[in-house]
């Protein structure tokens, strides 16, 4: 066996490494124990928008005290 053959055989052996038996089932069990992923962070965006709106409202209300004729 030439060094090139050995090198290729070694790479092949590493490439052919497989997942251990039952690996996918164990992953899926762990996945089931977790909350499903959110499709879009709708709630987080809504809370952010509401917070910004409340902040702007408070600023406008405060400024309004000084700007009233």
């Amino acid at each position: 066996m030439s060094p090139d053959d050995v090198f290729d055989a070694w790479k092949r052996r590493r490439a052919e490494a497989e997942a251990p038996p039952g690996f996918a089932e164990r992953v899926q069990d762990a996945v089931r124990r977790r909350t499903p992923p959110r499709r879009f962070p709708v709630l987080r965006v809504a809370v952010g928008v509401a917070a910004v709106a409340a902040c702007l409202f408070r600023i406008a209300a405060t400024l309004g005290l000084f700007l009233e004729p």
Binding site: M1, P3, V6, F7, A9, W10, K11, R12, R13, R14, A15, E16, A17, E18, A19, P20, F23, A24, E25, R26, V27, Q28, A30, V31, R32, R34, P36, P37, R38, R39, F40, P41
Partner: protein, 179 residues
């Protein structure tokens, strides 16, 4: 690629069981990658499982216009392996499957010795060179994909790959004869 996207859409729509399709499709290459990046690791399976769980938790952030699902998954794997190596303890040697070729006992012993030398040389490579070599030469990813995973240019990947190959081939070079 399109099959991956269809599966991802189903999972995001609430069909959690469909995530198993993605796991079964990518578990072989992913386990091979993690096993090669975590030399002689006793807990590589935990890391591989952790990669899939991280992918599941962040599935909504996967952008198919930026990379293939496999590239995205391998990026997570690369980062998780790097973190695992930082807190690495002495571990038991990992076991790789045997090839079924027929050799004479002498050839088999010699080959085994060479493989061990290559395993040790791979383990001794700096993490960046090892990742580039494993992704390009063992997982057969394109240089562009490797660059995307590593966050470097194709030129840098080529250079890391060249150095890795050189060091690995040196592991097979015969020892100089004693004077």
């Amino acid at each position: 690629m399109n099959d991956d996207l269809a599966a991802i859409r189903r999972v995001l729509a609430g069909d959690v069981e469909h995530f198993a399709v993605l796991v079964r499709r990518h578990q072989g290459p992913l386990c091979g990658l993690v096993r090669s990046l975590l030399p002689r690791s006793a807990d590589w399976e935990d890391v591989a499982q952790d990669v899939f769980l991280a992918a599941y938790a962040n599935l909504a952030t996967f952008d198919p216009t930026r990379a293939a699902f496999r590239t995205w998954l391998f990026t997570i794997a690369r980062n998780r392996c790097r973190n695992a190596l930082k807190r690495r303890r002495p571990e038991l040697p990992g076991v790789l499957p045997e090839e079924l070729d027929v050799h004479t006992p002498e050839e088999e012993a010699r080959r085994r010795e060479w493989f061990e030398q290559l395993d040790a040389a791979l383990e001794a490579l700096p993490f960046e060179q090892r990742t580039a070599f494993v992704l390009a030469e063992i997982q057969n990813l394109s240089l562009e994909e490797v660059g995307r995973i590593e966050g470097v240019s194709v030129g840098t990947v080529k250079s890391r790959l060249g150095r890795a190959r050189q060091k690995l081939r040196a592991a097979l070079a015969p020892a100089p004869e004693p004077p």
